[in-house]
Subunit: 335 residues, 2 copies
DNA sequence: GTGAAAGCGCTAACAA
DNA sequence: TTGTTAGCGCTTTCAC
């Protein structure tokens, strides 16, 4: 890498002159500025990032910790975060916690050595289950800002970006009820997660309000580690009268659709299905799955905006929670 | 952040003593070492990353540039890279080129200012189409190592990790022929890519060798931007006698299976299908799709190993190309 | 056994 | 208009 010193030597001026010239300082003569800038361009000079960071105490880098890149939601969030960060002149150091508390702790710990200006993260499953949040509050105490998204924790005081998980599944359930469905089952792969609980509660709430006829709510927990397909098949065996399915995770809605069709259900005549999936699964479904759209791009963008805002005015103490709207998009699997 | 200076002041010793003590230097008395280390631990001292990098001219950070995180293959590769890098004490700065040459250029350019020790990348589609590789050779000339994977370029001299794309689809086609299939169609969403061309050639080669009966090869190009499903439907319309499909991308094999079943084909009795997909789509298929497995985890791991090797002995000039084995995994869509 | 000083590449206050 | 100096946080050589 070319350094200021090298430029200075070649031009027989001092390092500070070169530095100022490159910044178009008023102090420096037009002539010198030109000579310096020409040589800099010619030698493809780039200011050393580490020196800049050391001096300014800013890295222009954000740490992103997500539970799982193979989950389409997080991949898309990462994509959105990367887009927005790049736009704002920030780089991303990405870590995958793999749903593990230990990995989350070490990532946070290791990157808090001046590697990043702040963190964007969604909490690992294990962390949520154990409700062990000290590693996050520790970072906050060091005055390194954190923005949580999607999987957040009530008792951590920081900026957050969430969707209205409760409201989204409440609305979806309402819709199924309004179709006249009498036997609506909720399928969840994510019961352990904050968002899973909220979505389940939305479903239950809609039932409570459903005074006309009293179907008991039915919640099917699918263990990710076990066979999703087997659980879904089992659902149809145990609940032959099912006429509505609300899937609150990425994949089980699609699987339910396939199994239902295979079993001879007419969709949406006999059975409605609503999923929490992204559009990426639509190519695999026919009829097209009706979904709750989470506007993941907006979520990612908002996290970066909040974090950079916070970085620019660290003094403020009030934290904001931004709720990104969801949409119930009715396609071919609802009436 | 706590600094050496602060520790030194609190302990009334010099900064260099503290530094040495933290490194368990022989020069320093046991007593001092203990006092220093205790205080360091107590105050949660961490050496400033930027200062370390500036001093050592090493960042312990790798730049990863992938075309698209939403593509499961690249997400998985990123996952593998992250795992291995973490294991080896490296961080990742991740950029998504979005298949754009311009983004790829700027990422490479911006990160070559001392932000990373080297790059791992897979070439953007636009870059491959325009065969414009100067931005990469420029980096190499600056003595920053680059490891290319999957989508590589012949004429760039650097370490590479690939799969035997040609051989993989050659074998798959051979398998279909050995099943006695007489009308085998290749479906490609990725004709523009190096890997797409190789895979297509493997298919064509198998046909050339197929002297017994002469079915002309049929290659269907699916334009990603258009409707994959429509193209597949069209395939069945135009080729009603099709009895074998080789899909050389992530998704079209799954779509083909769904459409075939819907059209009344018996799979695998009437029709065999082989895809290049990862296991993640299997949950959406019934029967289970037979696939060519790319061992993406191994690919990611290999890229990191090669890059770190290169970093540790920069002198070596010979570059290696590592080929990761593929497997044809026969499941429910082949006889 | 400990400390002073130099230097990594840069910026900025101050001096000339 | 240009140069000198100090300092960001750290390591390391050399002196004491």
């Amino acid at each position: 890498m070319v350094t200021l010193k090298q430029l200075a030597e070649q031009l027989n001026v001092s390092v500070s002159t070169v530095s100022k010239a490159l910044h178009n300082s008023e102090e420096i003569s037009k002539d010198t500025i030109q000579r310096v800038q020409e040589l800099a361009k010619h030698l493809d000079y780039q200011p050393n990032r580490m020196a800049l960071s050391l001096k300014s105490n800013k890295t222009k880098t954000l740490g992103v910790i997500i539970p799982n890149v193979l989950n389409h939601f997080f991949a898309k969030a990462l994509y959105a975060i990367e887009m927005e960060a790049t736009k704002q002149g920030y780089n991303l150091i990405t870590c995958v916690s793999n749903e593990l508390l230990s990995k989350e702790m070490s990532s946070l710990q290791l990157l808090s050595n001046g590697s990043v200006d702040g963190f964007i993260m969604s909490i690992a499953e294990e962390t949520q289950v154990k409700n062990s949040m000290d590693h996050i509050t520790t970072i906050l105490k060091k005055d390194i800002p954190v923005v949580l998204f999607d999987r957040v924790a009530e008792d951590i005081e920081c900026d957050k970006v969430i969707i209205d998980d409760f409201g989204a599944s409440y609305e979806a359930t309402k819709h199924l009820l309004s179709e006249g469905r009498k036997y609506i089952v909720l399928v969840s792969e994510i019961e352990e997660l904050s968002v899973g609980k909220l979505r389940t509660n939305g479903y239950l709430k809609a039932f409570e309000e459903n005074i006309d006829y009293k179907q008991p709510p039915i919640v099917i927990h699918v263990n990710k580690d076990n066979d999703v397909e087997a659980s879904i098949k089992n659902l149809f065996m145990s609940n032959p009268k099912v006429d509505g399915i609300l899937s609150i995770d990425n994949t089980s809605g699609v699987v339910a659709l396939h199994k239902a069709l295979k079993k001879g259900f007419k969709v949406p005549e006999d059975l409605s299905i609503i999923g929490f999936s992204d559009e990426n699964v639509l190519v695999f479904t026919d009829p097209k799955l009706s979904t709750i759209s989470q506007h993941t791009m907006d979520i990612g963008k908002a996290t970066v905006e909040l974090l950079i805002d916070r970085l620019n005015k660290k003094n403020t103490t009030t934290h904001v929670t931004k709720t990104i709207k969801t949409n119930l998009i009715l396609r071919g699997t609802t009436k």
